[in-house]
């Protein structure tokens, strides 16, 4: 005889729970955490490189870099003035709360004000795995095309801010900004948006200003 047992649990509740713990660890140490997500090549590392010099004058910044292999991105972050920790996911397509938990243990959080997590380049999976950071940020880039919000709704739903990178390429690429923004608004009404170019530095000040306004010092 079989018996039916009600469960009614979110399947990723274990990850969510550890994400809450990560948040507490960050809170207790007075560290503000940002999770940067984007597809490969959207400019996560480039944005970090542009952002760091403007922040490290006031804040102590650490970068946790998620990659399937290699430490190229962590090396670039370190060169730009941050304490960098590389997390190789060994094939996993996203960072999860366990990986961030382990990375946090490698850092002296008392010496950090801002933690930037560079997630694995991917426009699907990271959205499902909360890390415990204070803000989730998505970077879209012009060459990816204006249809991405429609194709990857999960990513656009779960974020607190959107950086639109490579706007210097707008004259060369058929990218309908209206269509793109309509999709974004549909998924995430009133989403904070920062159009930038890591090449020309256009818009970087506004983005950095937003981060500054979030960190309590």
């Amino acid at each position: 005889m079989t018996v039916k047992i009600p469960v009614v649990q979110k399947i990723l509740s274990a990850n969510d729970k550890l994400a809450e713990e990560n948040r507490e660890i960050l809170e207790n140490a007075g560290v503000f955490g940002i999770n940067l997500m984007a597809s490969p090549g959207a400019g996560k590392t480039s944005l970090i490189e542009q952002t760091l010099p403007l922040l490290t004058t006031t804040f102590r910044v650490a970068v946790v870099d998620g990659d399937i292999a290699t430490s190229i991105d962590a090396d670039r972050a370190a060169a730009a003035g941050a304490v960098a920790v590389q997390v190789n996911t060994g094939g996993e397509c996203h960072l999860d709360a366990v990986m961030l938990y382990n990375a946090l243990r490698e850092l002296d959080l008392t010496k950090i004000d801002l933690l930037i997590v560079e997630n694995v380049g991917n426009l699907v999976c990271p959205a499902n795995f909360q890390l415990g950071t204070h803000k989730n940020v998505l970077i879209a880039s012009i060459p990816e095309g204006d249809d991405k919000p429609y194709k990857y709704p999960g990513m656009y739903r779960g974020v607190d801010a959107l950086v639109i990178n490579k706007i210097d390429l707008l004259p060369y690429i058929p990218f309908k900004m209206d269509y793109f923004r309509k999709g974004v608004e549909l998924l995430n009404p009133g989403l904070e948006t920062f159009p930038v170019s890591c090449q020309t530095q256009e818009g970087i000040d506004a983005w950095v200003g937003w981060i500054r306004s979030l960190i309590k010092k």
């Binding site: 018996v3 399947i11 094939g91 996993e92 990857y152 709704p153 608004e185 549909l186």
Partner: protein, 120 residues
């Protein structure tokens, strides 16, 4: 690719609730997956057979209930269902909409067997 850790989470939950209920065997799992949750049920099934081996869930059947995405227009009150891709409110073309359903991803219930209690 992330269906592997996802499937592991499903298994962990089922084993946990099964053991709490003194199950000797979990025979069925009832999963609810919203259209917007980007989870592929075929992949979960694929990993399931590998992961569930040698647990109380071995051989259990996965049942997937797919929920369509339902949106509420905040301007004119129209409620509409998404077919495939995202679209504006079909009545007033507004993009001021709220997702009411479609992001679910949960284990609703399991069916288990217990050791037959022998009556003396």
């Amino acid at each position: 690719m992330h269906e592997l850790p996802v499937t592991q989470s499903v298994l962990d939950l089922a084993v946990q609730y099964g053991e709490q209920a003194n199950a000797t065997l979990v025979t069925d799992l009832y999963l609810v997956i919203g259209q917007l949750s980007s989870i592929v049920d075929d992949s979960i099934q694929f990993y399931w057979d590998m992961l569930a081996e040698n647990t109380i869930c071995e051989g259990a059947t996965l049942h997937f209930e797919r929920l369509p995405a339902i949106l509420d227009c905040q301007e004119c009150g129209t409620e509409y269902t998404l077919e495939r891709e995202l679209k504006l409110c079909p009545t007033c073309q507004s993009n001021n909409v709220v997702v009411r359903q479609g992001e679910e991803f949960r284990l609703d219930s399991i069916e288990i067997q217990r050791e037959q209690e022998t009556v003396p």
